[in-house]
Symmetry: C2
Subunit: 309 residues, 2 copies
């Protein structure tokens, strides 16, 4: 147990991220009181059943009232409405943050509603699984992952330090950057991979010459790796696409350009070009494993190797 | 131990697949003698050190001489040269098969060299990891995976049955199909995913606005899933691209068409269209898990969830 950093933490939204935060905050004693709010009847009930918080409300303003840390754990498209809703109860000194996958749009949507004296520090924990909802949460989700904060110029340094301490106590390493740069970085490392994964699963689903049962039976040959990302929360990902349009379109256009060149190399049988690309991509994975951001068991450890010798 | 199905098994090539076959054949006693051949000095030495076979040779014809089962475990581009090399020593009644990821090209490359009386049955175990070489093999690699055989019309039924029994003893389920259909199915479930994965890793590697270290640090948000496929053996995948050109180009063109539609939906903010695609792809993963072709632990089991409640 650490000394509590906050008196009252309000979690607005209690899906995978909110639930994981509730659990690690409880485990580490990072807040004296955890107030949970969610719009959905079903999620509300599950959060209560799981005992994730100290108080529960269907009204975000109820939960935020009196909180010294408010974390929006909702799809980015919902941020503006919630900010408007809770603004009247936010008191000076409170830290208001979020966990959304886009940051420039959050600054734009939430910024105008933030009362004077409230420290608005957008954030993004780079952590998640393909599952969603309160049952999907677990307290080690943020362990060894990065959390990016994008504080506007002039944000109170003590507030940034306190939020940094909070995320570190949750197990994360913390980086700060400009929201626009965040959105470019995430467009390539997260948004494009999800869009590509959704797209290829859609393409496979539409084929006439290959049956769905064949796609499923033989998926171990590569396809299944894409289905994890393509099983992510649809609302969250619709909102990401709508709220990081420019950066995503730029990355998509680069990807398509490269794919055309690759397609041309295949069409014209340019084996050397193919071999060169297929070789240089290997080292990227090695670096990711060395950075502790990936497991090094073959095949994601799906099969436990039993060596006979 | 099963009764040996074969007197002498010749494994031509001893990478991930060859090494895994050697280990399961030894474990189950499926052949009285395992003869291993590989061109590479280093691989040869490792195979000997690991004790994968009963005899070793740098000359494929030496290993194949007297074998009643010969399995080509080499990149598909090497099949023709090896078939020509070993043809003189193949005796009537021998089963000649391979493990290549393309099948029409194998029929074309190997078929003309197969002596009368030799049963040529192209095959493809749908199994593998991103690792390669003799050290990467393990005996459970084929467990619960599918193996596709593409016997030419008129192939001896007893030979097909015997090769089927062999793969079943290795842990696989066996399907037979036409080589052209195999190549279409694999183009979507395996070749396209690998090409897309190589491509996106290449695109990320080339960005100027986002540093390599940022790509690596924040890769847990999606990108790292693609790097597993993009770390696969470059020679094998170059040969796949060169030997299944037509089917791959067809799938690539469908994929690109779908991606353009998705790009347009993002550009014009068509949230409903995005939500629909992102929803229907979820069920595909569920089916793959139900079919036993994927693990159902979140995030490929990278993080062990420790529930607090």
């Amino acid at each position: 147990m650490t000394a509590p950093l906050f008196d009252r933490l309000a979690l607005i939204g209690i899906g995978l991220i909110g639930s994981s935060l509730a659990q690690i905050v409880r485990q580490k004693g990072l807040a004296k009181h955890i107030a949970i709010s969610t719009r959905s009847e079903e999620t509300f009930r599950r959060a209560e059943e799981l005992g994730l918080g100290d108080s529960y409300s269907r009204d975000a303003a109820d939960a935020a009232d009196g909180a010294d840390l408010v974390i929006l754990c909702i799809p980015v498209g919902a941020n503006e409405a919630v900010a408007k809703w809770i603004a009247p109860v936010l008191r000076a000194g409170t830290i208001l943050t979020d966990v959304g996958s886009t940051k420039a749009s959050v600054v734009e949507a939430v910024g105008p509603y933030v009362p004077n004296g409230v420290h608005f520090i957008p954030g993004h924990p780079i952590a998640g699984t393909e599952q969603s909802g309160p049952d999907a949460g677990f307290p080690t989700l943020f362990q060894n992952r990065w959390c990016i904060l994008t504080p506007p110029a002039g944000t109170d340094a003590a507030a940034i330090a306190k939020l940094t301490e909070f995320w570190q106590a949750c197990g994360s390493q913390v980086d700060t950057m400009d929201p626009d740069h965040h959105d470019k970085v995430l467009a390539i490392v997260s948004h494009l991979p999800h869009i590509i994964a959704y797209n290829i699963v859609g393409t496979a689903d539409d084929l006439e010459a290959v049956t769905k049962s064949e796609v499923i039976k033989y998926s171990a040959s590569g396809f299944r790796d894409f289905t994890r990302l393509a099983a992510s929360d649809p609302t969250m990902w619709r909102d990401v696409c709508l709220n990081n349009k420019e950066a995503i379109l730029e990355m998509l256009s680069r990807f398509s350009e490269d794919l055309s060149a690759l397609q041309r190399a295949i069409r014209w049988g340019d084996g050397d070009k193919l071999f060169d690309l297929f070789t240089r991509t290997r080292s990227v994975r090695r670096s990711i494993i060395e950075a502790g951001q990936e497991i090094d068991t073959p095949d994601f450890g799906r099969v436990k190797p039993e060596k006979t010798n």
